[in-house]
């Protein structure tokens, strides 16, 4: 091995490296290639999560996939939207036809007839037929997807319930007049597929083409997927032949870029510089400053179909004792927690003063108030005069709100002799322990897609499924949720709901704390933002002035 003149190569190498560094420092800002016109018709949505499946019904789909699915696919029906105090939210009581231009409901409430829209086509130009709808509904109840469990909550469970009665007419029949049947056909988990296309990619192992539809679409919705790079970005192009919007109107944006930007501070920077148009998952602590600088528009809507609460494991001592739960509930410093965890950005679910439930709405403010003397008395009554020890857990992903709250919980419970060890866990670990019901006390959030009080109570306060976080088991509650579900008399329905709310308020399986705001931050010229039950952006609503 010989090196007679290594100095030259090495020196040159060094020079080249220095030149690169110098060049780097002098390089001007990037070259923008898109012209102004297309930019104004393009929406750039930056988000922390990722769209991991184009078909929202595939098990393991992220929430972002639910949002994207709304724009890519159509459903038979769609909730309306209403303007409340200058903010748009979804209207659960007003369902219009989406892919169906007309929906007939029989007098006994047990049959729905869907008349498909004249001239409706799939993205590949072929017409939408009743057979497509039948296949999609069969898939929803038969395939091993997320749909089956969800739409069963509307008494939709068997393929025999769906009947083709004409080229463009489908009949759906129910055993009992379920209040939530139609609502369940208007959600991200009941999309309508182009069955001819999907069937081409079905296999004997996978007769409903779940695997293929994860990365491909057989859709007819308002947007067509242009590129899809999970974990990076998904680009949508407007479907110019779409006829299923309200009054048949096309959405405003020709192009939508949904981009994953993991760092919240970067998302905020992008919005303030005007490079991004919308984000719904910024940090609560940044929102005030962003609003004050005034370069962006903030639409803050309380998530009225959700809650954050402190959950007791009612199947494990000591919290199987309602008195201990009541003691903790009376010791919590609600207002301080609300300020520290949420910066007051949300709606309180504590602090009511009623003794008789005022309405059947749920979640509503419950009579949860700080009263240390009462808390101490209850704890003594429960057989713990010297206090007890427990742990308080929360998921790392929820830490920004849960961590400050946990500190206050620990401090407050120490005052009544309960010694709390705070446990912050990786999300997957937290969820596993929670599902196995091994956490005694923890903080958790939930949302009910269909904000009917009975559905909410059924989901979160009864049954064996994971959403009954506290494992609450109460015979009266269990029979009432079933009765309310099929109750057609509004007065009886209201009475049942009020009774269930009373049980939830006195037995406190979960201390309902608050409903956090959904803080949607957007460019100032964007309007029409609507809060949806699935808590994602529906791109079809948005307009740039």
């Amino acid at each position: 091995m010989k090196f007679h003149s290594p100095k030259i190569t090495r020196r040159e190498g060094l020079k080249a490296a220095l030149a690169t560094a110098a060049g780097a420092a002098l390089l001007p800002a990037s070259v923008r290639s898109a012209d102004a016109q297309t930019r104004s018709e393009t929406l750039r949505h930056v988000m922390a999560g990722t769209i991991n499946s184009l078909d929202a019904t595939v098990p393991g789909s992220t929430r972002e996939a639910f949002g994207a699915g709304m724009s890519i696919y159509d459903r038979l029906g769609s909730f309306g939207r209403k303007e409340v105090e200058g903010q748009w939210t979804f209207d659960f009581d007003n369902i219009r036809g989406e892919l169906a231009e007309k929906i007939d409901r029989s007098a006994d409430g047990r049959t729905f007839t869907f008349h498909l829209r004249q001239g409706a086509t799939w993205h590949d130009g072929t017409p939408v037929t009743a057979a497509d709808v039948k296949w999609s509904l069969d898939r929803a109840v038969s395939a091993k997807s997320l749909s089956a469990a969800q739409i069963a909550s509307g008494s939709l469970a068997k393929p025999e319930q769906f009947k083709v009665v004409g080229d463009r007419t489908v009949e759906v029949s129910l055993d009992r007049p379920d209040r939530l049947a139609l609502a369940n056909l208007s959600i991200p988990l009941s999309p309508m597929f182009n069955s001819v296309l999907a069937k081409k990619h079905a296999t004997s192992d996978d007769p409903w083409a779940l695997a293929w539809l994860k990365d491909n679409t057989a859709a007819g919705g308002a947007y067509i997927v242009e590129t899809h790079r999970p974990g990076q970005q998904t680009v949508l192009r407007r479907n110019e032949n779409w006829k299923n919007g309200p009054e048949g109107k096309l959405p405003f944006f020709r192009r939508v870029i949904a981009q994953t930007v993991p760092e919240a501070a970067t998302r905020a920077n992008l919005l303030e510089r005007g490079d991004a148009d919308l984000s719904i998952d910024l940090q609560a602590s940044d929102i005030d400053a962003l609003e004050q600088r005034g370069r962006i528009k903030l639409v803050a809507v309380p998530q009225t179909n959700g809650f954050t609460g402190i959950v007791f494991n009612t199947r494990l001592a000591p919290f199987d004792n309602p008195k201990v739960r009541q003691a903790v509930a009376a010791a919590l410093p609600y207002e301080d927690m609300f300020k520290a965890a949420l910066f007051g950005r949300g709606r309180r679910l504590f602090g009511a003063r009623w003794t008789e439930v005022p309405s059947e709405a749920f979640p509503q403010r419950l009579p949860l108030n700080t009263d240390l003397a009462k808390a101490k008395a209850l704890l003594t009554e429960a057989g713990y005069p010297n206090g007890l020890q427990t742990t308080f857990a929360f998921a790392a992903g929820a830490a920004s709100a849960a961590e400050p709250a946990a500190v206050l919980v620990k401090e407050a419970l120490a005052k009544i002799g309960i010694e709390v060890t705070v446990q912050k866990m990786p999300d997957a670990q937290f969820v596993t322990l929670q599902v196995e019901r091994r956490l005694p006390l923890f903080m958790e959030s939930g949302t009910a897609w269909l904000p009917a009080p009975d559905y909410f109570l059924r989901t979160y306060f009864s049954g064996e499924h994971r959403w009954n976080f506290s494992g609450f088991k109460n015979a009266e509650m269990d029979s009432l949720v079933q009765a309310a579900r099929f109750e057609t008399d509004p007065a009886k329905y209201a009475a049942a709901c009020k009774r269930m709310i009373t049980i939830a308020a006195t037995d406190v399986p979960t201390v309902m704390l608050w409903q956090p705001n959904q803080d949607a931050v957007m460019a100032r010229n964007i309007s029409g933002y609507t809060y949806w039950f699935h808590r994602q952006v529906d791109y079809r609503d948005l307009v740039r002035a």
Binding site: S30, G60, G231, P262, E263, L270, A428
Partner: protein
């Protein structure tokens, strides 16, 4: 010719020797992921009405319903046949994800390393020539600062100043302007791909996107490189052959650059190898801050979700790269110091 043959033989031998290590890494990661608390099936069964049925179905899909030894055997078979499983987080095959993301991480790490070397070696030389002088202290200060400030802080700071305040840098997300046309996909290294298709505007845009994240990473690895250059050069400068060279009247810079620096480079090369491997694996924070679609942030997301396949694939990939980098460094040793025999 014999040199090349020697190197070739050595490469083959080293690669062969690394197989048991890689196998160990595969098995160890496999077991570790399953020992860690957190069940991916439960985590991903997050549908609005997810019940036990859905959890079981996911478990079946991921093969987690089978006994552990069978899972391991299947995984080893898959790895041997070139499959790394499917990521639940992105829904894609892990191999495809890694293949798409590795060039992004490599490009960033290479570029950051070049910047770091271009800064660290002159700084190290300057410090070594005047030990304990003001320059030496200044270099020490800069290096300490670089190490002390975590990369996500320096990254956010750079974004704040150069993007948010001054507007000089392009928007700090990803490898290319989001509104621009898709880059050509040839090698996955954008700087190379744009040159290959002759798109200079695209090249400059990609280069612009690279500068801030690369500088953030370079700042962090400045210290080991500069300190090692200084220490090693100091030792060499005190040795006999340097004294001899000076005594025969050679010019100062010739002595330093040609004789001293070349001899001082060996330990620096070792550090470069370690620094580069570390950068690839540990630039997670930089990738997160700059939305860089690299393998680090990919693996972190998977780890938080207890998503087994991507984490295992990532560790295997990093182990393989580590083997390659060490090999490359050994080959470079031979070039830098002819006395290092091939065995």
């Amino acid at each position: 010719m014999s040199v090349a043959k020697n190197i070739g033989r050595r490469v083959v031998k080293r690669l062969g020797a690394s197989v048991p290590a890689l196998l160990g890494v595969v098995v160890f990661t496999f077991l570790l992921m399953r020992v860690l608390p957190g069940d991916p099936a439960t985590f991903f069964a997050s549908g609005p009405n997810a019940g036990q049925e859905e959890i079981d179905e996911l478990r079946r899909q991921m093969g987690l319903d089978r006994p552990m030894y069978e899972q391991l055997a299947r995984y080893l078979y898959d790895v041997a046949t070139g499959h790394l499983g499917r990521s639940m987080t992105t829904g894609q095959p892990v191999l495809a994800d890694l293949a798409q993301r590795l060039p992004a991480s490599l490009e960033l790490s290479f570029f950051a390393l070049i910047i770091a070397l271009a800064l660290a070696i002159p700084l190290g030389i300057a410090a070594a020539l005047k030990p304990n002088s003001l320059i030496d202290h200044a270099v020490r200060f800069v290096c300490t600062l670089g190490v002390c400030v975590p990369t996500f802080v320096s990254g956010l700071l750079l974004i704040y100043v150069f993007y948010y305040l001054l507007g000089l840098a392009p928007d700090p997300t990803g490898r290319i302007d989001i509104f621009a046309a898709q880059p050509p996909e040839i090698t996955g290294f954008l700087l190379i791909d744009f040159l290959m298709v002759g798109d200079l505007a695209g090249w400059r845009a990609a280069f612009g996107q690279l500068i801030l994240p690369a500088f953030t990473m370079a700042l962090f690895v400045l210290a080991p490189l500069a300190r090692m250059t200084r220490a090693s050069l100091l030792a060499v400068l005190g040795s006999d052959f340097i004294r001899t060279a000076r005594s025969v009247g050679m010019t100062g810079w010739r002595v330093v650059i040609v004789y001293a620096l070349r001899n001082a480079m060996l330990p620096v090369l070792t550090i470069i190898g370690i620094v580069f491997s570390t950068m690839l694996g540990a630039n997670v924070l930089v990738e997160k801050v700059f939305s860089w679609p690299g393998i680090g942030s990919y693996a972190l997301d998977a780890l938080l979700a207890s998503d087994y396949a991507p984490v295992q694939g990532f560790v295997l990939l990093i182990a393989a790269i580590f083997v390659m980098v060490n090999l490359a460094i050994d080959v470079l040793y031979g070039i830098a110091d002819p006395r290092v025999t091939v065995e």
